[in-house]
Symmetry: C5
Subunit: 91 residues, 5 copies
Protein backbone atom coordinates (compact mmCIF):
# COMPACT_ATOMS: atom_id res chain seq x y z
CA UNK A 1 0.00 0.00 0.00
CA UNK A 2 1.15 3.57 -0.37
CA UNK A 3 0.59 6.74 1.64
CA UNK A 4 -1.05 9.77 0.10
CA UNK A 5 -3.13 12.84 0.72
CA UNK A 6 -6.53 13.50 -0.85
CA UNK A 7 -6.16 16.76 -2.78
CA UNK A 8 -9.33 16.86 -4.84
CA UNK A 9 -12.00 15.07 -6.82
CA UNK A 10 -12.60 13.97 -10.43
CA UNK A 11 -15.97 14.83 -11.98
CA UNK A 12 -17.09 12.59 -14.82
CA UNK A 13 -20.60 12.27 -16.19
CA UNK A 14 -19.79 9.83 -18.97
CA UNK A 15 -18.33 6.73 -17.33
CA UNK A 16 -18.48 2.94 -17.30
CA UNK A 17 -21.72 1.84 -15.63
CA UNK A 18 -19.75 -0.11 -13.02
CA UNK A 19 -18.44 3.20 -11.65
CA UNK A 20 -21.77 4.95 -11.19
CA UNK A 21 -22.10 6.33 -7.66
CA UNK A 22 -18.43 5.97 -6.79
CA UNK A 23 -16.52 9.03 -5.61
CA UNK A 24 -13.25 9.44 -7.48
CA UNK A 25 -10.62 11.02 -5.25
CA UNK A 26 -7.31 12.46 -6.43
CA UNK A 27 -4.57 11.21 -4.10
CA UNK A 28 -1.06 12.65 -4.23
CA UNK A 29 1.78 10.48 -2.96
CA UNK A 30 3.47 11.76 0.21
CA UNK A 31 6.77 10.98 1.86
CA UNK A 32 7.24 10.04 5.53
CA UNK A 33 7.28 13.75 6.47
CA UNK A 34 3.81 14.13 4.94
CA UNK A 35 5.27 16.23 2.12
CA UNK A 36 3.34 16.02 -1.15
CA UNK A 37 5.08 14.53 -4.18
CA UNK A 38 4.20 15.45 -7.75
CA UNK A 39 2.77 12.04 -8.61
CA UNK A 40 -0.83 11.06 -7.98
CA UNK A 41 -3.50 8.46 -8.67
CA UNK A 42 -7.28 8.56 -8.84
CA UNK A 43 -8.81 6.19 -6.29
CA UNK A 44 -12.26 5.19 -5.14
CA UNK A 45 -12.93 5.34 -1.44
CA UNK A 46 -14.20 2.71 1.01
CA UNK A 47 -13.77 4.83 4.16
CA UNK A 48 -15.35 8.23 3.41
CA UNK A 49 -12.03 10.07 3.36
CA UNK A 50 -12.23 13.82 2.88
CA UNK A 51 -10.06 16.29 1.05
CA UNK A 52 -6.91 16.93 3.09
CA UNK A 53 -6.92 13.51 4.77
CA UNK A 54 -3.77 11.40 4.82
CA UNK A 55 -4.77 8.00 3.53
CA UNK A 56 -3.59 4.49 2.75
CA UNK A 57 -4.22 3.27 -0.81
CA UNK A 58 -4.26 -0.31 -2.15
CA UNK A 59 -3.52 -0.83 -5.86
CA UNK A 60 -4.08 -3.46 -8.52
CA UNK A 61 -6.36 -6.48 -8.21
CA UNK A 62 -6.28 -6.09 -4.42
CA UNK A 63 -8.25 -2.87 -4.88
CA UNK A 64 -11.18 -5.06 -5.89
CA UNK A 65 -11.28 -7.02 -2.61
CA UNK A 66 -13.94 -4.88 -0.93
CA UNK A 67 -17.73 -4.96 -1.02
CA UNK A 68 -17.69 -1.65 -2.88
CA UNK A 69 -15.28 -2.64 -5.65
CA UNK A 70 -15.77 -6.37 -6.21
CA UNK A 71 -15.71 -7.18 -9.95
CA UNK A 72 -15.43 -3.52 -10.90
CA UNK A 73 -12.86 -1.84 -13.18
CA UNK A 74 -11.09 -0.14 -10.28
CA UNK A 75 -7.34 -0.36 -9.66
CA UNK A 76 -6.89 1.89 -6.62
CA UNK A 77 -8.90 2.27 -3.41
CA UNK A 78 -8.53 4.28 -0.23
CA UNK A 79 -8.68 1.71 2.57
CA UNK A 80 -7.77 3.75 5.65
CA UNK A 81 -7.51 7.27 6.99
CA UNK A 82 -4.13 7.59 8.70
CA UNK A 83 -4.01 8.97 12.26
CA UNK A 84 -0.26 8.89 12.74
CA UNK A 85 2.98 7.59 11.28
CA UNK A 86 5.24 6.20 13.95
CA UNK A 87 8.77 6.29 12.47
CA UNK A 88 11.40 4.64 14.67
CA UNK A 89 14.34 3.87 12.36
CA UNK A 90 15.72 7.03 10.75
CA UNK A 91 18.76 5.79 8.83
CA UNK B 1 -6.55 4.95 -12.07
CA UNK B 2 -4.60 7.59 -13.91
CA UNK B 3 -5.55 10.71 -15.83
CA UNK B 4 -4.67 11.12 -19.48
CA UNK B 5 -5.60 12.69 -22.77
CA UNK B 6 -6.45 10.76 -25.93
CA UNK B 7 -3.95 11.92 -28.56
CA UNK B 8 -4.44 9.39 -31.32
CA UNK B 9 -5.17 5.86 -32.45
CA UNK B 10 -3.24 2.66 -33.20
CA UNK B 11 -4.01 0.88 -36.47
CA UNK B 12 -3.28 -2.83 -36.54
CA UNK B 13 -4.60 -5.36 -39.03
CA UNK B 14 -2.74 -8.37 -37.67
CA UNK B 15 -3.83 -8.83 -34.06
CA UNK B 16 -4.96 -11.41 -31.55
CA UNK B 17 -8.52 -12.46 -32.38
CA UNK B 18 -9.70 -11.35 -28.93
CA UNK B 19 -8.97 -7.75 -29.94
CA UNK B 20 -10.94 -7.67 -33.17
CA UNK B 21 -13.33 -4.72 -33.24
CA UNK B 22 -11.73 -2.89 -30.34
CA UNK B 23 -10.55 0.68 -30.84
CA UNK B 24 -7.01 1.17 -29.58
CA UNK B 25 -6.53 4.68 -28.25
CA UNK B 26 -3.18 6.30 -27.47
CA UNK B 27 -3.47 8.04 -24.09
CA UNK B 28 -0.75 10.38 -22.83
CA UNK B 29 -0.46 10.89 -19.09
CA UNK B 30 -1.33 14.40 -17.89
CA UNK B 31 -0.64 16.27 -14.67
CA UNK B 32 -3.26 18.08 -12.57
CA UNK B 33 -2.90 21.17 -14.81
CA UNK B 34 -3.91 19.03 -17.81
CA UNK B 35 -0.37 19.32 -19.21
CA UNK B 36 0.70 16.36 -21.34
CA UNK B 37 3.60 14.23 -20.12
CA UNK B 38 5.87 12.29 -22.46
CA UNK B 39 4.68 8.89 -21.30
CA UNK B 40 1.68 7.11 -22.76
CA UNK B 41 -0.22 3.84 -22.92
CA UNK B 42 -2.46 2.23 -25.50
CA UNK B 43 -5.93 1.58 -24.06
CA UNK B 44 -9.22 0.17 -25.24
CA UNK B 45 -12.29 2.28 -24.63
CA UNK B 46 -15.59 1.50 -22.88
CA UNK B 47 -17.02 5.02 -23.07
CA UNK B 48 -16.55 6.18 -26.67
CA UNK B 49 -13.90 8.76 -25.81
CA UNK B 50 -12.69 10.89 -28.68
CA UNK B 51 -9.32 12.33 -29.55
CA UNK B 52 -8.63 15.33 -27.31
CA UNK B 53 -10.76 14.05 -24.42
CA UNK B 54 -9.36 14.00 -20.90
CA UNK B 55 -9.98 10.49 -19.61
CA UNK B 56 -9.61 8.16 -16.67
CA UNK B 57 -7.76 4.88 -17.33
CA UNK B 58 -7.78 1.65 -15.31
CA UNK B 59 -4.77 -0.67 -15.62
CA UNK B 60 -3.91 -4.30 -15.01
CA UNK B 61 -6.39 -7.09 -14.31
CA UNK B 62 -8.97 -4.47 -13.33
CA UNK B 63 -9.03 -3.41 -16.99
CA UNK B 64 -10.78 -6.72 -17.70
CA UNK B 65 -13.72 -6.05 -15.38
CA UNK B 66 -16.04 -4.69 -18.07
CA UNK B 67 -18.42 -6.38 -20.50
CA UNK B 68 -16.14 -5.27 -23.34
CA UNK B 69 -12.88 -6.65 -21.98
CA UNK B 70 -13.79 -9.69 -19.89
CA UNK B 71 -11.26 -12.51 -20.44
CA UNK B 72 -9.41 -10.53 -23.10
CA UNK B 73 -5.67 -9.73 -23.29
CA UNK B 74 -6.19 -6.09 -22.42
CA UNK B 75 -4.32 -4.29 -19.62
CA UNK B 76 -5.62 -0.72 -19.94
CA UNK B 77 -9.11 0.67 -20.51
CA UNK B 78 -10.65 4.12 -20.65
CA UNK B 79 -13.47 4.07 -18.09
CA UNK B 80 -14.56 7.71 -17.95
CA UNK B 81 -14.43 11.00 -19.79
CA UNK B 82 -13.43 13.67 -17.28
CA UNK B 83 -15.56 16.83 -17.03
CA UNK B 84 -13.55 18.63 -14.40
CA UNK B 85 -10.78 18.22 -11.84
CA UNK B 86 -11.65 19.87 -8.56
CA UNK B 87 -8.31 20.49 -6.80
CA UNK B 88 -8.67 21.82 -3.26
CA UNK B 89 -5.35 21.11 -1.55
CA UNK B 90 -2.46 22.82 -3.36
CA UNK B 91 0.53 22.06 -1.14
CA UNK C 1 -0.63 -1.88 -23.55
CA UNK C 2 2.65 -0.42 -24.68
CA UNK C 3 4.28 0.08 -28.05
CA UNK C 4 7.59 -1.52 -28.89
CA UNK C 5 9.80 -2.88 -31.62
CA UNK C 6 11.03 -6.46 -31.83
CA UNK C 7 14.83 -6.25 -31.81
CA UNK C 8 15.84 -9.86 -31.25
CA UNK C 9 15.24 -13.21 -29.64
CA UNK C 10 16.16 -15.02 -26.41
CA UNK C 11 17.55 -18.54 -26.70
CA UNK C 12 17.06 -20.77 -23.67
CA UNK C 13 17.36 -24.54 -23.56
CA UNK C 14 16.73 -24.95 -19.85
CA UNK C 15 13.31 -23.50 -19.13
CA UNK C 16 10.07 -24.15 -17.27
CA UNK C 17 8.11 -26.86 -19.13
CA UNK C 18 5.17 -24.48 -19.59
CA UNK C 19 7.35 -22.38 -21.92
CA UNK C 20 8.46 -25.13 -24.26
CA UNK C 21 7.79 -24.19 -27.88
CA UNK C 22 7.20 -20.52 -27.20
CA UNK C 23 9.26 -17.95 -29.05
CA UNK C 24 10.73 -15.37 -26.70
CA UNK C 25 11.02 -11.99 -28.40
CA UNK C 26 13.01 -9.03 -27.11
CA UNK C 27 10.85 -5.91 -27.42
CA UNK C 28 12.29 -2.45 -26.89
CA UNK C 29 9.91 0.33 -25.89
CA UNK C 30 9.42 3.05 -28.49
CA UNK C 31 8.03 6.56 -28.33
CA UNK C 32 5.35 7.98 -30.65
CA UNK C 33 8.03 8.83 -33.25
CA UNK C 34 9.01 5.14 -33.37
CA UNK C 35 12.33 5.94 -31.68
CA UNK C 36 13.76 3.10 -29.61
CA UNK C 37 14.14 3.63 -25.86
CA UNK C 38 16.75 1.84 -23.78
CA UNK C 39 14.22 -0.24 -21.83
CA UNK C 40 12.91 -3.58 -23.02
CA UNK C 41 10.93 -6.65 -22.04
CA UNK C 42 10.94 -10.25 -23.20
CA UNK C 43 7.52 -11.24 -24.56
CA UNK C 44 5.91 -14.29 -26.11
CA UNK C 45 4.08 -13.78 -29.35
CA UNK C 46 0.52 -14.60 -30.42
CA UNK C 47 0.70 -12.95 -33.84
CA UNK C 48 3.93 -14.20 -35.47
CA UNK C 49 5.69 -10.85 -35.26
CA UNK C 50 9.11 -10.66 -36.84
CA UNK C 51 12.27 -8.85 -35.90
CA UNK C 52 11.87 -5.15 -36.83
CA UNK C 53 8.09 -5.13 -36.44
CA UNK C 54 6.41 -2.42 -34.40
CA UNK C 55 4.14 -4.23 -31.97
CA UNK C 56 1.61 -3.83 -29.18
CA UNK C 57 2.38 -5.66 -25.94
CA UNK C 58 0.03 -6.60 -23.08
CA UNK C 59 1.53 -7.09 -19.62
CA UNK C 60 0.67 -8.80 -16.35
CA UNK C 61 -2.17 -11.26 -15.82
CA UNK C 62 -3.81 -9.98 -19.02
CA UNK C 63 -0.91 -11.54 -20.92
CA UNK C 64 -2.39 -14.92 -19.99
CA UNK C 65 -5.77 -14.27 -21.65
CA UNK C 66 -4.92 -15.98 -24.94
CA UNK C 67 -5.13 -19.59 -26.08
CA UNK C 68 -1.33 -19.65 -26.25
CA UNK C 69 -0.61 -18.38 -22.74
CA UNK C 70 -3.54 -19.52 -20.59
CA UNK C 71 -2.27 -20.69 -17.15
CA UNK C 72 1.35 -20.23 -18.16
CA UNK C 73 4.07 -18.26 -16.33
CA UNK C 74 4.10 -15.48 -18.92
CA UNK C 75 3.73 -11.79 -18.07
CA UNK C 76 4.12 -10.14 -21.49
CA UNK C 77 2.68 -11.00 -24.89
CA UNK C 78 2.74 -9.42 -28.33
CA UNK C 79 -0.92 -9.06 -29.32
CA UNK C 80 -0.73 -6.98 -32.50
CA UNK C 81 1.59 -5.85 -35.28
CA UNK C 82 1.12 -2.11 -35.68
CA UNK C 83 0.44 -0.72 -39.17
CA UNK C 84 0.30 2.94 -38.27
CA UNK C 85 0.10 5.40 -35.40
CA UNK C 86 -2.39 8.15 -36.08
CA UNK C 87 -1.38 11.04 -33.78
CA UNK C 88 -3.82 13.96 -33.84
CA UNK C 89 -3.15 15.93 -30.63
CA UNK C 90 0.44 17.16 -30.50
CA UNK C 91 0.48 19.29 -27.34
CA UNK D 1 9.96 -9.89 -4.00
CA UNK D 2 11.93 -6.92 -2.75
CA UNK D 3 14.20 -6.35 0.23
CA UNK D 4 13.43 -3.69 2.80
CA UNK D 5 13.77 -2.64 6.39
CA UNK D 6 10.87 -2.03 8.76
CA UNK D 7 11.21 1.59 9.89
CA UNK D 8 7.89 2.23 11.60
CA UNK D 9 4.16 1.69 11.80
CA UNK D 10 0.98 3.28 10.44
CA UNK D 11 -1.82 4.02 12.91
CA UNK D 12 -5.31 4.17 11.45
CA UNK D 13 -8.56 3.96 13.36
CA UNK D 14 -10.87 4.44 10.40
CA UNK D 15 -10.16 1.64 7.95
CA UNK D 16 -11.83 -0.95 5.74
CA UNK D 17 -13.25 -3.71 7.95
CA UNK D 18 -11.09 -6.30 6.13
CA UNK D 19 -8.01 -4.67 7.65
CA UNK D 20 -9.08 -4.70 11.29
CA UNK D 21 -6.44 -6.31 13.49
CA UNK D 22 -3.68 -6.16 10.89
CA UNK D 23 -0.43 -4.43 11.76
CA UNK D 24 0.60 -1.97 9.04
CA UNK D 25 4.38 -1.74 8.82
CA UNK D 26 6.32 0.92 6.94
CA UNK D 27 9.05 -0.78 4.92
CA UNK D 28 11.80 1.23 3.22
CA UNK D 29 13.52 -0.33 0.23
CA UNK D 30 17.19 -1.23 0.78
CA UNK D 31 20.05 -1.99 -1.56
CA UNK D 32 22.33 -5.03 -1.33
CA UNK D 33 24.53 -3.19 1.21
CA UNK D 34 21.48 -2.81 3.47
CA UNK D 35 21.43 0.95 2.84
CA UNK D 36 17.99 2.54 3.07
CA UNK D 37 16.51 4.10 -0.05
CA UNK D 38 14.00 6.96 0.04
CA UNK D 39 11.12 4.87 -1.30
CA UNK D 40 8.84 2.81 0.91
CA UNK D 41 5.62 0.82 1.02
CA UNK D 42 3.15 -0.01 3.76
CA UNK D 43 2.86 -3.78 4.21
CA UNK D 44 0.99 -6.17 6.46
CA UNK D 45 3.03 -8.82 8.18
CA UNK D 46 2.73 -12.62 8.25
CA UNK D 47 5.93 -13.26 10.24
CA UNK D 48 5.86 -10.87 13.22
CA UNK D 49 8.69 -8.71 11.94
CA UNK D 50 9.81 -5.94 14.24
CA UNK D 51 11.02 -2.42 13.62
CA UNK D 52 14.61 -2.55 12.37
CA UNK D 53 14.28 -6.01 10.80
CA UNK D 54 15.46 -6.61 7.25
CA UNK D 55 12.56 -8.26 5.48
CA UNK D 56 11.33 -9.75 2.23
CA UNK D 57 8.11 -8.29 0.81
CA UNK D 58 5.73 -9.75 -1.78
CA UNK D 59 3.57 -7.35 -3.81
CA UNK D 60 0.38 -7.41 -5.84
CA UNK D 61 -2.12 -10.27 -5.96
CA UNK D 62 0.56 -12.61 -4.60
CA UNK D 63 0.35 -10.67 -1.32
CA UNK D 64 -3.09 -12.23 -0.86
CA UNK D 65 -1.81 -15.84 -0.98
CA UNK D 66 -1.52 -16.28 2.78
CA UNK D 67 -4.02 -17.31 5.45
CA UNK D 68 -3.83 -13.78 6.87
CA UNK D 69 -4.52 -11.88 3.67
CA UNK D 70 -6.75 -14.13 1.54
CA UNK D 71 -9.48 -12.06 -0.19
CA UNK D 72 -8.40 -8.88 1.58
CA UNK D 73 -7.55 -5.49 0.03
CA UNK D 74 -3.84 -5.87 0.71
CA UNK D 75 -1.14 -5.45 -1.95
CA UNK D 76 2.06 -5.91 0.09
CA UNK D 77 3.03 -8.41 2.77
CA UNK D 78 6.18 -9.18 4.72
CA UNK D 79 6.82 -12.88 4.14
CA UNK D 80 10.27 -13.38 5.69
CA UNK D 81 12.77 -11.88 8.09
CA UNK D 82 16.16 -11.93 6.38
CA UNK D 83 19.13 -13.45 8.25
CA UNK D 84 21.77 -12.81 5.64
CA UNK D 85 22.37 -11.79 2.04
CA UNK D 86 24.95 -13.96 0.38
CA UNK D 87 26.29 -11.91 -2.58
CA UNK D 88 28.69 -13.84 -4.82
CA UNK D 89 28.74 -11.98 -8.13
CA UNK D 90 29.88 -8.37 -7.70
CA UNK D 91 30.04 -7.07 -11.26
CA UNK E 1 9.57 -11.05 -18.56
CA UNK E 2 12.87 -9.40 -17.77
CA UNK E 3 16.49 -10.46 -18.13
CA UNK E 4 18.77 -10.67 -15.12
CA UNK E 5 21.78 -12.34 -13.61
CA UNK E 6 21.73 -14.36 -10.38
CA UNK E 7 24.19 -12.64 -8.04
CA UNK E 8 23.46 -14.29 -4.72
CA UNK E 9 21.00 -15.79 -2.29
CA UNK E 10 18.75 -14.64 0.56
CA UNK E 11 18.89 -16.61 3.82
CA UNK E 12 15.79 -16.44 5.98
CA UNK E 13 14.87 -18.78 8.81
CA UNK E 14 11.68 -17.05 9.86
CA UNK E 15 9.38 -17.04 6.86
CA UNK E 16 5.80 -17.69 5.77
CA UNK E 17 5.18 -21.44 5.78
CA UNK E 18 4.29 -21.35 2.08
CA UNK E 19 7.91 -20.48 1.32
CA UNK E 20 9.58 -23.30 3.21
CA UNK E 21 12.03 -25.18 0.99
CA UNK E 22 12.16 -22.53 -1.73
CA UNK E 23 15.49 -21.10 -2.73
CA UNK E 24 15.42 -17.31 -2.82
CA UNK E 25 17.75 -15.97 -5.49
CA UNK E 26 18.88 -12.36 -5.84
CA UNK E 27 18.58 -11.36 -9.50
CA UNK E 28 20.05 -8.11 -10.78
CA UNK E 29 18.56 -6.62 -13.94
CA UNK E 30 20.87 -6.60 -16.96
CA UNK E 31 20.84 -4.72 -20.24
CA UNK E 32 21.18 -6.31 -23.69
CA UNK E 33 24.99 -6.22 -23.34
CA UNK E 34 24.70 -8.36 -20.19
CA UNK E 35 25.82 -5.41 -18.07
CA UNK E 36 24.45 -5.44 -14.52
CA UNK E 37 22.12 -2.64 -13.46
CA UNK E 38 21.78 -1.47 -9.86
CA UNK E 39 18.21 -2.71 -9.47
CA UNK E 40 17.33 -6.23 -8.40
CA UNK E 41 14.53 -8.51 -7.25
CA UNK E 42 14.40 -11.63 -5.13
CA UNK E 43 12.95 -14.55 -7.09
CA UNK E 44 12.23 -18.22 -6.51
CA UNK E 45 13.56 -20.62 -9.07
CA UNK E 46 11.84 -23.31 -11.16
CA UNK E 47 14.89 -24.25 -13.25
CA UNK E 48 17.78 -24.71 -10.80
CA UNK E 49 19.64 -21.62 -11.92
CA UNK E 50 23.02 -21.07 -10.31
CA UNK E 51 24.83 -17.95 -9.22
CA UNK E 52 26.24 -16.21 -12.29
CA UNK E 53 23.57 -17.51 -14.65
CA UNK E 54 21.76 -15.14 -17.00
CA UNK E 55 18.07 -15.80 -16.46
CA UNK E 56 14.55 -14.89 -17.51
CA UNK E 57 12.19 -13.80 -14.72
CA UNK E 58 8.39 -13.64 -14.71
CA UNK E 59 6.70 -11.21 -12.31
CA UNK E 60 3.31 -10.72 -10.68
CA UNK E 61 0.47 -13.22 -10.66
CA UNK E 62 2.08 -15.00 -13.61
CA UNK E 63 4.89 -16.03 -11.24
CA UNK E 64 2.37 -18.33 -9.58
CA UNK E 65 1.60 -20.32 -12.75
CA UNK E 66 4.06 -23.14 -12.05
CA UNK E 67 3.78 -26.34 -10.04
CA UNK E 68 6.29 -24.92 -7.57
CA UNK E 69 4.55 -21.61 -6.90
CA UNK E 70 0.81 -22.25 -7.34
CA UNK E 71 -1.19 -20.41 -4.64
CA UNK E 72 1.96 -19.20 -2.90
CA UNK E 73 2.92 -15.63 -1.92
CA UNK E 74 5.55 -15.36 -4.62
CA UNK E 75 5.70 -12.50 -7.14
CA UNK E 76 8.87 -13.34 -9.10
CA UNK E 77 10.20 -16.61 -10.51
CA UNK E 78 13.15 -17.63 -12.64
CA UNK E 79 11.63 -19.53 -15.58
CA UNK E 80 14.63 -20.01 -17.89
CA UNK E 81 18.41 -19.99 -18.03
CA UNK E 82 19.43 -17.93 -21.05
CA UNK E 83 21.91 -19.42 -23.54
CA UNK E 84 22.14 -16.49 -25.88
CA UNK E 85 20.60 -13.15 -26.82
CA UNK E 86 20.25 -12.75 -30.54
CA UNK E 87 20.02 -8.99 -31.17
CA UNK E 88 19.29 -8.08 -34.80
CA UNK E 89 17.93 -4.51 -34.72
CA UNK E 90 20.44 -2.09 -33.19
CA UNK E 91 18.76 1.29 -33.65
Amino acid sequence: MFLGKVVGTVWATRKDEELVGMKLQIVKHIDLDYKLKDTFVVAVDSVQAGVGDVVLVTSGSSARQTALTKNRPVDAIIIAVVDKLDIVVKT
